[in-house]
């Protein structure tokens, strides 16, 4: 089966601009998670979708972040406006059963 796909792999934007990250989960995986790692910190949970519904968004840092999963397939994570502290690597993972998780390769976001 195809893995979890994320794009872009890298993005460099200026402070104040908008960036949209995309994640395509494994087909049939209802659970989709976003995580991020900012420089020097551990990987932290952002939010969890079950199909198109947000199950848990307790990790979203502020209202500049907006995640969607229209139709329960791919998901987007928009940052608007981007700030310097948003720089880091954003990972997406999907799971069929919440026991096995498959991660994408991540999107490295640099805000300058």
């Amino acid at each position: 089966e195809a893995g979890v796909t994320q794009f872009p792999s890298h993005s460099v934007i200026e402070k104040g601009q908008t960036v949209t990250l995309r994640c395509d989960p494994i087909s049939g995986h209802d659970n989709l998670y976003w995580y991020r790692r900012v420089m020097g910190k551990e990987i932290k949970f952002l939010l969890h979708f079950v199909k198109e519904s947000k199950q848990d968004e307790s990790g979203m840092p502020n209202n500049r972040f907006l995640a969607e999963r229209t139709g329960g397939t791919y998901s987007t994570l928009k940052v608007q406006p981007a700030e310097l502290e948003d720089s880091g690597v954003y990972f997406c993972a999907s799971s069929r059963d919440r026991i096995g998780y498959t991660f994408g390769s991540g999107t490295r976001l640099t805000v300058v």
Partner: protein, 115 residues
């Protein structure tokens, strides 16, 4: 609440010598535990997972980990390091499945392998 602590931020070994990456967890219930590896410029790859079956878990590339409830530990070992093992390793605990199953990551351990 669940948490995980990786006791070493960096470990350096010589090729052919054993690897030990230490991880302690805290959980109010019987946890699911994982080790993931990230090679430079790559994604997170699952090495192995413990889900309340055998306490000694074998993973890919010769790695294994032992779940020790009495010590709340889940250390990762490999008998003989290879140069290709150089990467960052993450110990991870999973939240309850019926509460979403989100993963809680340790801080990561950078493994260096010297020739």
């Amino acid at each position: 609440a669940q948490s995980v602590t990786q006791l070493d931020s960096h470990v350096s070994v010589s090729e052919g010598t054993p690897v030990l990456l230490r991880c302690n967890y805290s959980s109010s219930y019987s946890p699911s535990l994982f080790w993931y590896v990230q090679h430079p410029n790559k994604g997170l790859q699952l090495l192995l997972k413990y889900t309340s079956a055998a306490t000694l878990v074998k993973g890919i590339n010769g790695f294994e980990a032992e779940f020790k409830k009495s010590e709340t530990s889940f250390h990762l070992t490999k008998p003989s390091a290879h140069m290709s093992d150089a990467a960052e390793y993450f110990c991870v605990v999973s939240g309850l499945r019926n509460q979403g199953g989100k993963l809680i990551f340790g801080q990561g351990t950078e493994l260096s392998v010297k020739p």
